[in-house]
């Protein structure tokens, strides 16, 4: 799942949440959940129009991407309504959604062919093109268009990795935060057939081929060797403080 310049996105948010979509590159609207329809209809927040529901927004704008800034208790309802409204890509930033609710929304997504990123994701960045979520996508020292795909559970560590790539002159093709929750959806995010390889400074990096020009698209072949570099933080933490360390037998 790659955010494109042409993506049309909605932001279902708490009334005080700020919009963090790139308004120059993507069309954005709010679905004003948590307020009565009469209060939200025809209004705008951060110069972005508010619709009464995601379904209404999809009907009026033809949008296909939604991002959720919804508290855990009501996230399931919001997600399912976005999925049923025909949203194709749903970015769920909320942390601590009950596992049962996460399973329910994954099931709803599977029924409707919706792709979910998250929950508890920092979002997606296609440097120089599009951005959904809470990453510092517009900070030039962190993100710059390049050829290394970055997949991370953590927003902060993802930021650090992208920063290091930019500082070393490489940049990123795309960043995907797969979410830190137990039932997040990494398989769909990372198993995309739109993976390709590229030579860059003598090393091979996994990259997402979202920069194809529409005429030519390389598909990942089985014999395409890829270099995947992994970084796991926490080597200096005390063994007793490590999360989910199995007890030695």
């Amino acid at each position: 799942m790659i955010m494109r310049r042409s993506s049309r996105s909605s932001c279902s948010a708490s009334p005080d949440a700020r919009a963090v979509l790139d308004r120059e590159n993507a069309r954005l609207w709010h679905a004003g959940r948590g307020r009565r329809q009469s209060e939200t209809r025809g209004r705008a927040h951060c110069d972005v129009p508010i619709f009464a529901s995601t379904a209404q927004a999809v009907r009026d704008t033809g949008g296909d991407v939604a991002v959720m800034f919804i508290p855990p208790a009501t996230a399931r309802k919001a997600a399912v309504s976005a999925i049923e409204a025909g949203i194709k890509h749903l970015v769920v930033l909320t942390e601590h959604i009950p596992a049962q609710d996460v399973m329910a929304l994954h099931a709803a997504a599977a029924r409707h062919g919706t792709r979910i990123v998250g929950p508890n994701t920092a979002g997606l960045v296609t440097p120089g093109e599009c951005f959904v979520g809470i990453m510092p996508a517009f900070v030039p020292s962190v993100f710059k268009p390049g050829h290394v795909g970055v997949i991370s559970r953590s927003g902060s560590l993802g930021t650090l990795v992208c920063l290091e790539l930019t500082q070393s002159g490489l940049g990123q093709s795309a960043f995907i935060g797969i979410g830190g929750d137990r039932c997040s959806a990494p398989p769909r995010a990372t198993r995309s057939r739109r993976l390709t390889t590229t030579r860059n400074r003598g090393r091979r990096h996994r990259r997402r081929n979202w920069r194809h020009d529409g005429r030519r698209r390389r598909r990942l072949r089985q014999d395409d060797a890829q270099t995947v570099a992994a970084f796991i933080a926490g080597a200096a933490s005390l063994p007793a403080r490590r999360w989910a360390t199995p007890a030695p037998s």
Binding site: A122, I134, M135, P136, V139, S141, V142, G155, S156, L157, G158, T159, L160, L163, Q167, A233, G234, A235, A236, S237
Partner: protein, 115 residues
Amino acid sequence: MTTMDVIRHFGGRPANFLEIGGEAYTKSAAALDLVLSNPGVRSLIINFCGAFARTDVMAEGVVKAWQELKPAIPVFFSIHGTGEDEAIALVRARLGIEPYDLMEDAIQAAVRAAQ
């Protein structure tokens, strides 16, 4: 977490680890107070990699607390992410400290200062 790994990589030993990301990012003054209450701290590394957390807000808290508490230990900054320009300008103007461009350099300097 990575900060601790890099401290160890350069031969240092973390006295404290305190994360002020997420919901706590407006509380860097309280965080600084807490870390400095440990007499074992000989130098301080402040490493911000702000995504959701705004580094300018965190830097403001740190600068305020630093001027209030006037600690006798050296401090080293590495600031990147949301609001970094404002944060770096703030640290430069109010503390007269130049934040490091590379996290590794800041940590190496902090480790050297502690030895």
